[in-house]
Amino acid sequence: MGMDKETEEIQSAAADPRRFTVLYERYFGEVFRFILRRSGNRELTADLVQETFLRAMLALPKYQHRGLPFRAWLYRIALNELRMHWRKKKEVLIDLSFTQVKGLSEEFDLRLDEDDMQRLAKALSKLDEARGQLIQLRYMDGLSFLEVGQVLGIGEDAAKMRTHRTLAQLRTYLAPRA
C-alpha cells in the first residue's frame, strides 16, 4: 500500500466517514490479532476492536499524517482500550505460544522447551507494564522501532534505547544465580 494513496484515503475518510470502511476492512484483521494476542478471548477482542475503530473514526478529523504508519496509530488506540478494560480486573494473564516468543528466545539463546519458556515467562512477568509492552510490540507483534515509538508516544531512537535496556534487564532476570 503506497503511503500517498493511504494518505488520500485517510483524508477522504476524515471528510466523509462513510469512506472509513476501506481503512476498517484493511486493518480489521491486524487490529483483531493485535488485541487477541493480549486478551486471549475472541468475543472480548471483537468488542474491543469495534471500540478501537469507533474511537479512531471519531478522532480521525484531528489525525495528522506525518508519514508514520497508520496501523501504529490504531494500535495505540487499541492499547488504550485494553488498558481501560484491564483496569477493572484484578489480574491480567497473557498467554503466549512458543512461536510468538521464538524471536525473543533467540536473543537469549533459549531453547523452545518447557523449562526455558517457564524461565522466560517468569522474567517477562517481572518487567513493569511499560517495558512489558515494549517487548511485546517489538517481538510478538513484530513492529519496527519507528512503529513501537509511535504506539508508545516516544521517538524511534528512544524506542531503540529502551528496548536494549529492557533486554539487558531480562538477561539479568534470566541469569542463573550463583
Binding site: P17, Y24, R33, G40, R42, F53, L54, R87, S97, Q100
Partner: protein, 87 residues
Amino acid sequence: MKPRFRITPQGAGHEPSDSELLRYRDSGKLSYNYQRGRDLLHRRPLYRDPKAFLALLLIVLLAWLISEGVLDGRKDPEPKPPAQGTP
C-alpha cells in the same frame, strides 16, 4: 495493570482464520455506533439552549428564594413571652 505471562506450546489458541475474521467484521454496526457517538459528542450543551437555560435559571432562582425565606425565618424567631411570677 502489570500483566503476568505464561508461555505454552499453543498459547491462547490458534490464530483466527480469514473467514472467522469476516464473521466478526461488521461495518454496519460501526457506522451505527459512529452516528450515536457523534451525536453525543456534538450535542448542544444545556447552557446554549435558550429555553433550557431559562428553565434552569428559574429553578435556581426559585431554590434561592426558598432558601432565603427559610433562613430569614430562622434568623427572627418569635420573641418568648416574659416569664411571670418567678420567685
